[in-house]
Each structure stands twice: as structure tokens, then as C-alpha cells.
Symmetry: C2
């Protein structure tokens, strides 16, 4: 019997956190400058409740990035590790671009640790999957080997950001930018 109220409290807290993150992702996607107060209202909780879970806007944004990274890594882990590397790369590009489409806030809300090192760390778990694919494609001879695998990985991440920025700035449609991103990476990688 002991611990049961504690478990219930922890489950309540988790539900509350999930509701806040859901509401924040939705609201920030539509209004990148939304305040903690507005996020609380959208989640149907008091402002203090949001602060009880996330001490600052930065902490909340960090939790959102973690959630999105977790989902993305799960989707990337579902890619067939056995087939041709070029097919795996195509799937990786599709999944990574879908994340940008689903989470529009990634294009418009400045995220914490926006320096180059923080940016690199944030993408590490996503880059690891890509690094495996690139390494495999270089080993099978499907991909170019003139430059280190790390260059192809970094260039891919960077072209994905560029595509997102072109959409955010209204210079390309999401479809145009997605196609340009995927085809450009394939041009770089495939022998």
C-alpha cells in the first residue's frame, strides 16, 4: 500500500508535463513568441503549474527539443538496417524532413544553446543514425569516399536547416524545399 499515493502523484505530474509540452508545441508552431502564460492557458493549467515543471521558457524549450528528438530517433530506428544504404538514406531524409513539417516551431522559435557546439550536441542522436548509413554506403561503394563520413553527415544536417529556413522565410514551399533537400543530399552522397 505504501508508495501508491506517490505513484499516483508521479503519474499526475507526467500527464501534466505531457499536456504542457503538447500545448506548447502546438501554440509555438502557430505563434513563435507565445509567452509562458499563454502556453499555460492553452494547456489548461495555471501559470505556476508550468513553472513548477519548467523553471524557465528555456527549460520548457529544452524539454520540447528532447521530446521531438526522442520521436525522431524512434522513427529513424525503424529504418531497415539491412537493405541498400541508398534506400536507408532516402528514408532518413524523408523522416527528418517530416519532423520539420510536423513541428513548424523548429523553423521559427529560437532554441536554447543556439551556438554551433550546442547545435551539434542537439543533433548527435539523429546524426548517429545517419553516420551509420553513410559509413555503410561508403563501405559498400554506394557512396562517395573522397571526404570523411562526418562531412557528409554535417552537410546533410546543414542542408536540412537551409531548406527549413527557405520555407520559414517564404522563399520556397515546403514541397520545393523538401525535394531540394533530398535531391541535394543524394547528389553529394551517391557515387
Amino acid at each position: 500500500m505504501t508508495g501508491s499515493p506517490g505513484r499516483r502523484r508521479r503519474a499526475d505530474a507526467e500527464r501534466s508535463r505531457a499536456a504542457i509540452i503538447d500545448a506548447a508545441i502546438d501554440l509555438l508552431g502557430r505563434r513563435p513568441a507565445a509567452s509562458m502564460e499563454e502556453i499555460a492557458a492553452a494547456a489548461g493549467v495555471a501559470r505556476q503549474t508550468v513553472y513548477a515543471h519548467y523553471s524557465s521558457r528555456e527549460a520548457l524549450l529544452g524539454a520540447i527539443v528532447e521530446r521531438i528528438t526522442g520521436e525522431t530517433v524512434a522513427a529513424l530506428n525503424a529504418i531497415d538496417p539491412g537493405g541498400p544504404a541508398i534506400e536507408a538514406l532516402r528514408e532518413w531524409l524523408t523522416v527528418s524532413w517530416e519532423v520539420v513539417g510536423r513541428y513548424r516551431m523548429l523553423l521559427t522559435v529560437p532554441l536554447p544553446a543556439g551556438d554551433a557546439a550546442g547545435e551539434h550536441d542537439r543533433h548527435l542522436p539523429i546524426m548517429e543514425r545517419l553516420t551509420e548509413i553513410v559509413g555503410r554506403g561508403q563501405a559498400t561503394g554506394e557512396f562517395t569516399t573522397g571526404h570523411p563520413a562526418g562531412w557528409l553527415v554535417a552537410a546533410t544536417i546543414s542542408l536540412g536547416h537551409t531548406a527549413g529556413q527557405e520555407v520559414a522565410a517564404g522563399r520556397m514551399t515546403p514541397e520545393q524545399a523538401g525535394a531540394a533537400y533530398r535531391e541535394s543530399v543524394l547528389r553529394l552522397a551517391v557515387r
Copy 2:
């Protein structure tokens, strides 16, 4: 006779500003976190003199970016506008990468207006030259036309940054990164 002391004062002020910018570029290239005080000492002027010309570190960094942009545009304007577009693109890539080599601080000092829009504006005069070359290469059939010229331009800028970051992080040598940058852009652009 009138105006002569004024002219002399303006010439003195210009020399003083140039000395501060020279010293700042040199010092920040070696120590990205150098303070205004240290920059003043390196330029051989009083701290107040630096602040008389540049009201903040951000203002000084803005002036440095203007100086580097001006030099880069002058070098890019020297590229032969008559020859094949692919040769012009090769020269553009060499010149733009040399700037990164000469001004190491571009890789390590966070510059003001570091958001996507500010970044885009900062590169406008440099991008204009590239846009001309890409447009010409697409018109002559030397370059791919599957995506808008703006995509090739944005992708080029972005790959240049990536190459710089790989050097700054110690993951590639300047020579490796420069070669990867140039060859990757040519792969994207050339039909």
C-alpha cells in the same frame, strides 16, 4: 582655410577606427572572448577611445563584419564576368573560403544578429555575386536547373558555414574542409 582642422580631425578619427578594427580582428582571431579593454590595449588606444567610436562590443563586431564584407565583395567583383560560369563559381568558392582562412574570428566569435534573418542580410552582397554566377550557369546549361537558383545559393552559403564549423571544432583541417566545401558545391551545381 576653413574646414582644414575639421578634415584633419576626421582623418585622425578614420585612422583611429581602422587601427581599432585591425587590432580587434587580429586579437579576436586568437582569443574570441577578448574584451573591449584588451582590444583597446592591442590597438594602443584608451578604452574610452574605443567606446567613442563603437558604443558597444556589438557595434564593433558589426563594423568588423562590414569591413570583411567590403573586402570580400571587392575580391568577388574582380572575378571575370565573361568566362564560363563554372570557372566563375570555382573562383567564387576559392575567394569565399580564403576569407574564412584569413579571418579566423568568423569561425569562433558569435556575431550580432545571429538569427536566420540577420545572417541572411549579412550575406546579401556576397550572395548577389553568387546569384549572378548561378543564374548565368543555369542559362548556359552548365548548371542544374531542377531547383531555383536561390536554393543553390543558400546551400552554398550553408556548406561554407558547415566547413568552417568543422574546422573550428577540430574535426577537419582547413585544407580538408575547403576541398570538401568546393567539391560539394560543384557537385550540387554542375549538371
